[in-house]
C-alpha cells in the first residue's frame, strides 16, 4: 500500500491493447495488472467487453480515460460521466484516471490531449471540475501529466506546481508519466528531476512509462517504441522519491509481440526493485527482454 495515498501498489502492468487480446486470454502472463482505455469499452457488447470481463476475472484493472477533458471551458459532459460510472461499476477498477488537459471546446472533441495554460484561473477551474467529477463518479480520480509541445505566454505557474496544486486542492491522485515529464522537459528546457521532486509523493498513485520519438525540433510522445535509458533513469529517480507505486508500460503504435511488451514491464519491476534496495547499477544493466 502506498502509505498516504491509500491506494494499492498493483505491481507492474501494461496497457491492454487489441493486438494482445488472444495472448492474454490464452495463457498466464508475467504482468501483475492491466490498464484499459475507458472509452474503448464504453460499448454495448461484443468482443471488447467480453475480453475485459475475462481479463478482470484474473487481474486487477485500472480504467484510464482520454476524453474527460477536465480542463475544457465547456460544461462537464454528464453523459460521458454516467457511462464512465457505469463501466466502473461493471469493472470495479482499482482506480479511474484521465489526463490534466483539455480535449475540445464548443462541443467538439479533438481526441487529443491539449495543453492548459498554467494560470490561477485555469487552476480554479480544474479544481472545481475534479471535485465535481469525483462527486458524480463517487470515487477519487488520478490525473496524468501530459507531454506538451508549447508553453502558453500567459502561464504564471510552472507545470509541476500546477499539477501539485490541483492534486492537493481537489484531493485527487497523480498518475506520474515519467516519459511525459522527460518529453516536456526536453521540449521546454527544464530539469525533469526538479519536476518529479516537486510533486507530493503521497499523491502519486501510479507511474506511466512509454517510448517517444525524436522529431529533431522536439520529442513527440508516440508510445511507439521501447522506453529509452533516460526515461528509465527518471523512473529510478521517481521510485526513490515516491516509493513502490503501481507502474505501467504503454505501447500504442507499432505494437510489438506480447513478449517485448511484457519484457519492458519486467524491466520496470527490476529497476523499481533495485531503486528501492538502494542499488545503483549501471544504466541498462537490468533484466532486459530483447525478444
Amino acid at each position: 500500500m502506498n502509505s498516504a495515498g491509500g491506494v494499492p501498489d498493483l505491481g507492474h502492468g501494461v496497457g491492454l491493447r487489441r493486438e494482445h487480446f488472444e495472448r492474454v486470454l490464452d495463457a498466464p502472463t508475467r504482468v501483475d495488472w492491466f490498464e484499459v482505455l475507458s472509452e474503448n469499452f464504453m460499448v454495448k457488447g461484443g468482443r471488447p467487453l467480453h475480453v475485459l470481463d475475462r481479463v478482470r476475472r484474473d487481474y486487477p484493472v485500472v480504467l484510464h480515460g482520454v476524453s474527460l477533458s477536465i480542463g475544457t471551458s465547456d460544461p462537464l459532459d454528464l453523459g460521458y460521466l454516467r457511462e464512465l460510472r457505469s463501466l466502473a461499476g461493471r469493472v470495479e477498477p482499482a482506480w479511474v484516471s484521465d489526463h490534466l488537459c483539455w480535449t475540445g471546446v464548443g462541443g467538439h472533441n479533438a481526441h487529443d490531449l491539449l495543453p492548459l495554460p498554467y494560470t490561477e484561473e485555469a487552476l480554479r477551474h480544474v479544481v472545481e471540475r475534479v471535485l465535481a467529477v469525483q462527486d458524480v463518479l463517487g470515487r477519487r480520480i488520478a490525473l496524468e501529466n501530459v507531454s506538451t509541445y508549447l508553453t502558453f505566454a500567459g502561464s504564471t505557474l510552472c507545470e509541476w506546481d500546477f499539477l501539485a496544486e490541483v492534486a492537493v486542492q481537489a484531493d485527487c491522485g497523480i498518475l506520474l508519466d515519467v516519459n511525459n515529464v522527460y518529453v516536456s522537459a526536453q521540449n521546454h528546457g527544464f530539469d525533469p528531476e526538479k519536476y518529479v521532486s516537486a510533486l507530493p509523493a503521497e499523491r502519486v498513485w501510479q507511474i506511466h512509462l512509454a517510448g517517444h520519438t525524436d522529431r529533431g525540433s522536439h520529442l513527440l510522445d508516440t508510445h511507439s517504441r521501447r522506453v529509452c535509458d533516460a526515461v528509465w533513469e527518471l523512473y529510478r529517480f521517481a521510485t526513490r522519491r515516491v516509493g513502490a507505486v503501481a507502474s505501467l508500460v504503454e505501447w500504442d503504435e507499432d505494437i510489438p509481440e506480447w513478449e517485448v511488451l511484457e519484457g519492458e514491464s519486467l524491466r520496470a519491476r527490476e529497476i523499481q526493485r533495485s531503486a528501492l534496495a538502494g542499488a545503483d547499477p549501471t544504466p541498462g544493466s537490468e533484466l532486459r527482454s530483447d525478444v
Binding site: K44, H108, E121, F152, G154, L220
Partner: protein, 281 residues
C-alpha cells in the same frame, strides 16, 4: 484589436486554439483568418505561445494540428479499410479533410467518428465519379456498428420450432441487436470483395440495387446479399418482430403455395444457423 493583445482567458484561449487546430490549410492560414476577423491581433501568435530559438509559436501549434488530423485520418482509415484502399492515400487525405470540416468530431469516443461518413461520401464528388463508393462506406460502417452492438441469446432452430409451432400466432421472433439490413449498389459488394490491384480507383459500373444483411455471430462480423423475399421477412422482423404465421404470410405473397412452406423453412434454417434470431423482448 491592438498588436499588444493581452493573454486571453481560458474560454477565449481554447476558442482560438481550436480554430488554429482545425484550420484545413494549417496554423499560419488559420492565424491569418483569425486576424482578418479581428479575433486576434497578431499572426505571429506570440501573445499566445512562447517562442524560443528552436520553434516559433506557429510551429509549436502545428505539432498539435498535425496530431489532430493524422490521428483522425488513421482512425477513419481503420474503420473504412476497403474504401481507403480503393481511393488511395491522396484522395483519402482530401476526403478526410473535407469530412472533418463538415463534421468535426463531437462524441467522446473515436468509435463514433465515422458514423456520418457514408452519408457524406454519398454527397461528395467521389461518389459521382465512382459509383458504389458511398455504398461501400455504408457497408463498412454497418460492419463497424454491429461489431460491438449489444449481445443477445440467439434462438436455436430447435427452440424456434418448439416455441413457434406450439404457439404460431403468439410466439414472436425478432432480430438480434447486432444485425443490419441495407440496400446497396451491387458494385459496392464487388469493391468490398476485390481489393484494387494497383492501389488506385478505377471507374466501377453502377450495379443494380441489392439487399444485404450484416450481422455478428459470436465475435465475427459477416455480410451477404439476400433475395427480395428474405429481405421482406427480415424488414418485418427488424421493425417489430414476427410470428411464424406472419412470416408464412409474407413468404406466400411471392412464392407459389406449394413452395411457400419449404421457402420459409429454408429461411429459418439459415437464420438460426447464422444466429440472428432471438425471442422478442
Amino acid at each position: 484589436m491592438s498588436e499588444a493583445q493581452p493573454f486571453p482567458d481560458l474560454r477565449a484561449l481554447q476558442s482560438v486554439f481550436w480554430r488554429l487546430l482545425v484550420a484545413p490549410e494549417g496554423v499560419a492560414a488559420g492565424a491569418r483568418a483569425l486576424r482578418a476577423e479581428g479575433a486576434i491581433g497578431s499572426e505571429d501568435l506570440g501573445f499566445l505561445v512562447q517562442a524560443d530559438d528552436r520553434m516559433t509559436p506557429r510551429e509549436r501549434l502545428d505539432v498539435y494540428a498535425d496530431m489532430y488530423f493524422y490521428r483522425l485520418r488513421d482512425c477513419l482509415a481503420e474503420d473504412f479499410p476497403k474504401l481507403s484502399a480503393w481511393i488511395g492515400p491522396t484522395r483519402l487525405h482530401n476526403l478526410v479533410t473535407d469530412y472533418l470540416l463538415a463534421h468535426p468530431p463531437v462524441h467522446f469516443s473515436l468509435r463514433e467518428l465515422g458514423r456520418r461518413v457514408p452519408g457524406y461520401v454519398a454527397g461528395h464528388a467521389l461518389a459521382g465519379e465512382f459509383p458504389g463508393i458511398a455504398d461501400l462506406a455504408a457497408l463498412e460502417w454497418a460492419r463497424v456498428d454491429v461489431f460491438d452492438e449489444s449481445d443477445a441469446v440467439p434462438l436455436t432452430r430447435g427452440e424456434l420450432l418448439e416455441q413457434g409451432t406450439a404457439a404460431p400466432d403468439v410466439f414472436v421472433a425478432a432480430l438480434i441487436p447486432a444485425f443490419r439490413q441495407l440496400t446497396l449498389d451491387r458494385a459496392a459488394l464487388a469493391l468490398w470483395r476485390e481489393p484494387p490491384e494497383d492501389g488506385g480507383l478505377g471507374p466501377a459500373p453502377a450495379g443494380e440495387p441489392v439487399s444485404v444483411r450484416i450481422w455478428r455471430q459470436g465475435f465475427d462480423v459477416y455480410h451477404r446479399s439476400i433475395e427480395p423475399d428474405e429481405a421482406d421477412c427480415l424488414a418485418v422482423l427488424a421493425q417489430q418482430g414476427a410470428t411464424l404465421a406472419r412470416l408464412g404470410e409474407i413468404v406466400a405473397e411471392t412464392t407459389p403455395p406449394n413452395r411457400a412452406g419449404a421457402r420459409l423453412a429454408e429461411f429459418l434454417d439459415v437464420w438460426t444457423a447464422d444466429a440472428v434470431l432471438m425471442a422478442a423482448p
